[in-house]
Each structure stands twice: as C-alpha cells, then as structure tokens.
C-alpha cells in the first residue's frame, strides 16, 4: 500500500523540468502522475512512475538530487464529495496531510496523499472501506 513517489529538487531555471522528463523518456519510463510544488526560488517535482528505483538511478546519474518519498493512493468515484470524505476522515484523526494531488481515469479518481503517518492513514481509510491501490497497480497506469 505504500507507494514510492519520486521527489526531485529543481532550481527555478527554464529547462530543468524538460531535462528530467527527457532523461526518463529515453529509458521509456512511464509517468502515472506528476505535480510540481514551487516557490519563487526552487521547486520540488513529484512523480509516480512505472519503475521508481530505476528512475531514481537514472536521474542521479545526471546529477539530480532525488529521493523516494512514501505516499499512499486511494481510488474513488470521481466526485468531489469522495475526495472530501478522505480528507475529513484523516483530519478527524489528526493525521496531517502534507500535500495531495489527484487525477481521473474513466469514472474513477486516483488520489495521492503524503501523510505524516502513512500506516495510520492506511488503517483509517481501510476501516472506512476505502480502496487503497497497490504500488504495482498504480505504476501500471
């Protein structure tokens, strides 16, 4: 249930993001989801990819600063109320969500969450009968 998301440090310079994608593209790494968190000074690129370990190695070879971050992934119907429900469950238990992003595939949404305590989050969401994705399934999308 623990997903390994790639986190890449990017200077706020044009071309950095392009270069990351080109490096991954060359080795046919597929990207399931992507988001960029930015300040005016730098950014953190977050990716769910088909092969996180391999992708990390490729980027490190090109001197990128990369880490793997543990996130969880929940699949729900693509209506806002379902997303809200997930966040409500976690906030009621004081499990803080550092960031979240989502994408839709068909009538379903995949919600990625970075929680302060992933194991507690998984337990809480399961208790509410929510469907958590396995890493291998997520990477395949």
């Amino acid at each position: 249930m623990i997903i390994h998301q790639l986190s890449v440090f990017l200077e706020n310079k044009s071309g950095r993001l392009t270069e990351v994608l080109e490096v991954l593209g060359k080795e046919n790494i597929r990207i399931t989801a992507l988001s960029v968190a930015d300040t005016s000074e730098f950014g953190i690129l977050r990716l769910i990819v088909s092969d996180p370990e391999k992708a990390k190695g490729l980027l490190k070879e090109q001197s990128f600063t990369v880490n793997l971050t543990e996130v969880i992934s929940v699949i729900v119907p693509d209506e806002a109320k379902h997303y809200a429900k997930i966040l409500r469950i976690l906030s009621d238990l004081d499990i803080s969500v550092e960031y979240t992003y989502a994408f839709s595939s068909g009538k379903k949404s995949v919600i990625i969450l970075r929680c302060s305590n992933p194991d507690d989050a998984i337990k809480a969401l399961k208790e509410h009968e929510l469907e958590l994705m396995k890493a291998s399934d997520l990477y395949k999308i």
């Binding site: 440090f9 200077e11 968190a37 990128f64 600063t65």
Partner: protein
C-alpha cells in the same frame, strides 16, 4: 592650499628620517618589552632592540600578518595593560573571529590628528558641515571621520550608513558641504538625489572623502560629474589605525602617507624582499607612534607603489597610488571586508549542509550585491517545501549575523558549481570597476 600640520607634512626628508629613526627605536623597545609575541619573534631572529637603530634596519624585523592578530585574539598583541585602552574596534578576520584593535588616549589623539590632516587635505575647515555616512560602531570608518571632523572644528553630522531618504533630506536641510562615505554609496546617493526631486542646486555639497573600498579613476569622474563635487581618495586600515593612514591632496595625484606615524614599505608578496621606489608590490606598514597596538611590518595585502617625488601641494610625505588590487582573496563588499574562508567556516558549522557553495559578487545600481549558491545534496534533500525554505533561511540568517552583510542564499542542484582540477571555484566577482 590648506595643510593641517605644516611642520610634519612639509618636513625636509632628512629631518623626517631622524624623526622616524627615533620613533622606530622607541616602538621596537615598546613591543620587545611589552608584547611576548614580538619578543619571541625577535629572539628567534637573533635580534634585540639594540640591533634596530634606524629605518634602514627595518628589513631585519619580522613581518606581522592578519593571522597573528587572530591567533592572539582578542588582546594578545596589545602593548599596554587593558586599563590604558580607552577604545576597541574590530573588523573582519579570515575566519569566524574578528580582528580586534585597541587605542590608548594618546592613540586616539594621534588618530584625530591624522584625520584632521586628511580632511584638511580635502579642503575641509571649521566652516564646513561634514555628513559622515560611514558606519558607526566597531568599524573604524564612522568614528575615525568623526574625531577628525571635530578636531578641525567642523560641524559633524554623525548620520552613519543607510536610510538614503533621510541622508538626502538632512543633506539638504542642514546644508552639508562635505560628504564622507564609500565611493559606491556616493554613486548610489547621486542617483537617489536625482530621483528624489530635490534640486542639486539647492544642495551645498562641495567635496567628498571616499575610501574603505577600491575605486577607479572612472568612478571618480562619475562621482565628480554626478554630484558636482571634488572626490578625494582616502586610505586606511584598522590594524594600522583606521582611516587616516593616507589621503589625497587637491592635486588628486597619489595619496600622501602620514610617514611620521606609519612607515611604508613595498614588498614582493612572494619573495618578501623590499622593492625600490616605483615598483608595484604589497604595502607594508610599521606604526611608530601608536601605544596600544603597535605593529611591526604589517602586511596589508593591498597592492600599490610609492613615489617620493615632491608634490605640487608642498607636502613632502611619500605618495602611494590608488589601491586597486589585493595579494590575497579578501573581498570588499560595500566597504566591509569579507574572506571566502569565513563563509566556508560558517557553513561547516551547519550539519544540515555540505559546504559546496559559490559566492557571487556583483554591483547593481552602484551597490555591491552578494549571493551564495549552496548545493542541495541528496542526504539533505527533504521533500517538503517549507523545510527546504527554512533551511535556506537558516543559512542566510547564520551568514548575515556572522558577516554583518546582507546576502541572498539560493539553493541549487549539485554539480552546478564549476570545479576545475578538483577545486571548486568559490568566488565569482562580476564587478568591473
């Protein structure tokens, strides 16, 4: 042409040499008997005070460098008990520790005297209003000019640095006639005045005394044109006394050194041999009247040359060229000394980062800017914007507090910083004077 102290400033050089000989003998005795560091160094060289009879014997004596002051931090090189010290000042050292200097009451009087000469050589008199925009505090600039201004009886405005709006307003309202600040700040002020809406014709500025950082003839012309004043170069360093070591006269053709207090030599910085008149080399000073912190053959790391030719102003004191280079890696940012090694030692104290950094110095709108690029290593890369941001801020705060300079810290990707032959290029200075 006004000269503050004709007796010394226009002294016949043979007579001056006798004065120097006697004062040098006194100083060598003073340090030999009162400063263990100097006694050991002289003994190691097989020297006693009896071996130094005239300035011709100067080259027998050992050199003193900034590191010696650092190793004897804070007061180890003082030649008098602390109860005799009435003032301390400090400036940047090569690593974390500042360079500390101390003054007896007599030293303060000497300092005021040489500053009076400096201001007088720029044409200042008791009828002038001197706006001192050098920083007051541990830095010797502000207080040095201050005591000189009071000595000549001028009206001193101790406004210190910064707050440009107020500088211009008071310059206008008080009718300042003499400006004392760094040359880059003078240029900055000139543009601020234009933008302020205050008419230059309503200002009474006539002359400026500028120093604490290198500046070219081009910059001088620009300051003179923009501010419509005469721009006089002044030179000093706190180890020797502060400002007041040397200053230009109205001829603006070399800075007269106050040789009755500070004996200059020019040496080859590598071989350490003394060079003849006219050769460019490293400037070395021996103080011959200071009591608190007398220094023997102190290496300034400034590069210049000397001319003993008599000046049209009538002064016989030797002149040095404008200093434009250093024989070490020290930077001067907005008049403040900075050693790259200081930055390195501050970064090394932080366990969250590796000191893979680069300092970039530039000049924007006539003000020096300082940026530090620090590489983000994998083990320190946190996937949280706020944590990275607070790390960046922490580095910035640590540096600003230690250096006394505002600095912009930018996090960069690894290997961004050029390495050549395995050694990182730590400093890039984009300023063109």
């Amino acid at each position: 042409m006004e000269i503050w102290n004709r007796h010394f400033e226009c002294m016949d050089r043979n007579e001056l040499k006798q004065v120097q000989n006697e004062r040098l003998r006194e100083t060598v005795e003073r340090v030999y008997f009162n400063v263990p560091y100097y006694r050991h160094k002289m003994q190691e060289a097989g020297l006693g005070p009896e071996n130094i009879n005239s300035i011709d014997d100067l080259s027998k004596l050992p050199f003193t460098i900034k590191n010696d002051l650092r190793e004897n931090y804070p007061f180890g090189l003082f030649a008098v008990p602390m109860s005799e010290i009435v003032r301390v000042h400090a400036s940047s050292g090569t690593t974390g520790k500042p360079t500390v200097v101390g003054y007896t009451r007599n030293d303060i009087a000497i300092w005021s005297e040489v500053m009076a000469r400096t201001l007088t050589s720029a044409g200042a008199t008791r009828n002038d209003f001197i706006q001192i925009a050098y920083g007051y505090g541990l830095f010797t600039g502000g207080l040095g000019l201050h005591y000189g201004g009071e000595k000549i009886g001028a009206s001193v405005i101790p406004i210190s640095g910064g707050n440009t709006t107020r500088q211009i307003q008071l310059m206008h309202d008080f009718g300042s006639t003499v400006l004392a600040c760094t040359p880059s700040y003078a240029l900055y002020l000139s543009e601020a005045i234009q933008e302020s809406g205050i008419n230059r014709d309503d200002l009474k500025l006539r002359v400026g005394v500028f120093g604490a950082e290198p500046w070219t003839e081009n910059m001088r012309r620009e300051i003179e044109e923009k501010l419509r004043i005469k721009a006089i170069d002044i030179y000093g360093l706190s180890e020797v006394i502060g400002p007041g070591v040397a200053s230009e006269c109205m001829e603006q053709n070399g800075l007269h050194i106050n040789e009755d207090h500070f004996i200059p030599e020019i040496i080859n910085p590598d071989s350490l041999e003394v060079l003849p008149e006219g050769s460019v080399g490293e400037l070395v000073f021996t103080t011959i009247t200071k009591e608190g912190l007398p220094l023997i053959r102190y290496r300034t790391r400034d590069l210049t040359r000397l001319s003993f030719e008599k000046c049209r102003c009538g002064r016989t004191m030797v002149r040095m060229d404008k200093c434009l280079g250093r024989s070490d890696d020290m930077l001067i940012i907005r008049g403040v000394n900075l050693f790259p090694s200081q930055v390195e030692s501050i970064l090394l104290e932080m366990s969250e980062i590796k000191p893979h950094y680069q300092l970039i110095v530039d000049r924007v709108n006539n003000l020096d800017t300082l940026e530090l690029k620090v590489e983000v290593e994998e083990e320190f890369f946190l996937d949280k914007i706020s944590q990275l941001e607070s790390l960046r801020q922490k580095i910035q705060n640590n540096l600003e507090n230690a250096l006394g300079l505002s600095i912009k810290v930018t996090l960069v990707e690894p290997k961004v910083i050029e390495r050549s032959e395995g050694k990182s290029k730590h400093v890039i200075d984009n300023r063109k004077f």
